[in-house]
């Protein structure tokens, strides 16, 4: 057993449910609490984006989360059939953005939004976006702490 697929309707509460499910699954698979939270967070951020920006909150659509786990990494693919991500957002996702380089003494400079992609980028080890004109896929890889240790430690 190395994968599970979760499909939800395009409603924000779906992101809540899928986040909780992914949490329960990763916890059950024995991942440490920090890794569980990181994966749950990135799933919630990307599913929320698909519902809000991909489908513009229109109901009656579906978002799918594919979770696959090996001994060394967890791979999550979030897919939707909505609007593809604009090019500048794809660049932010892959190259990073400076949304968190705000001046903390200047409240006006603190962001109220636009944080999701940068959270994904800085939390995951590898991020890949693709679209085939119908289905958009955001694929995220998290290398498990133990595997990382073996690699670098």
């Amino acid at each position: 057993m190395n994968w599970i697929r979760l499909t939800i309707p395009s409603e924000l509460e779906g992101a809540t449910l899928v986040g909780q499910s992914v949490h329960a699954i990763c916890h059950h698979l024995g991942l440490d609490e920090t890794t569980v939270f990181q994966i749950e967070l990135c799933v919630v951020e990307s599913v929320t984006n698909a519902i809000r920006h991909g489908y513009k909150l229109a109901t009656g659509n579906e978002v799918t989360v594919n979770l696959s786990v090996s001994g060394s990494s967890v791979e999550v693919e979030v897919s939707d059939d909505g609007e593809p991500m604009p090019l500048d957002s794809r660049a932010a996702l892959c190259e990073g953005s400076d949304v968190f380089n705000f001046d903390e003494t200047d409240l006006d400079s603190v962001p109220e939004g636009g944080m999701g992609l940068q959270i994904i980028r800085s939390t995951m080890d590898h991020v890949e976006y693709s679209t085939d004109g119908r289905t958009n896929r955001l694929r995220m890889t998290k290398i498990l702490p133990k595997a990382e240790e073996a690699l670098h430690g």
């Binding site: 920090t34 939270f37 809000r52 409240l107």
Partner: protein, 112 residues
């Protein structure tokens, strides 16, 4: 969303009773908190000890409240831990809000 609001040392302490603050409830959270700054801005301690998950939409709602709290008001965070504390750190929001480990510490710091 469910809150437990009480007055401690003359300050409003609002404890969030739901375990998750995410996009599905962010707007509701924002509106509920903004009420506490009407008609008069005040200091509100938001106790997050029962919260186990917050996403960027939830944090964004808190920032929005901080920005719109009015002169003399403040929104202070207490009780954040685990995933919630990590999120404040990851997004550098721990530098934007006054964050305390417990409501007691928050009350002490404010009373000084």
């Amino acid at each position: 969303m469910r809150f437990d609001n009480s007055t401690m040392n003359g300050l409003l302490v609002s404890k969030v009773l739901d375990a998750r603050i995410d996009a599905a409830v962010a707007q509701e959270l924002k509106l509920a908190l903004l009420q506490h700054f009407q008609p008069e801005p005040q200091t509100v301690i938001l106790n997050l000890e029962a919260v186990t998950f917050i996403d960027s939409s939830g944090l964004g709602a808190l920032v929005s409240v901080l920005k719109n709290r009015g002169n003399g008001g403040d929104l202070i965070i207490s009780g954040s831990k685990g995933a919630v504390a990590s999120m404040f750190k990851l997004t550098r929001m721990d530098k934007v809000f006054r964050v305390f480990a417990t409501t007691e510490e928050a009350l002490q710091a404010v009373s000084k």
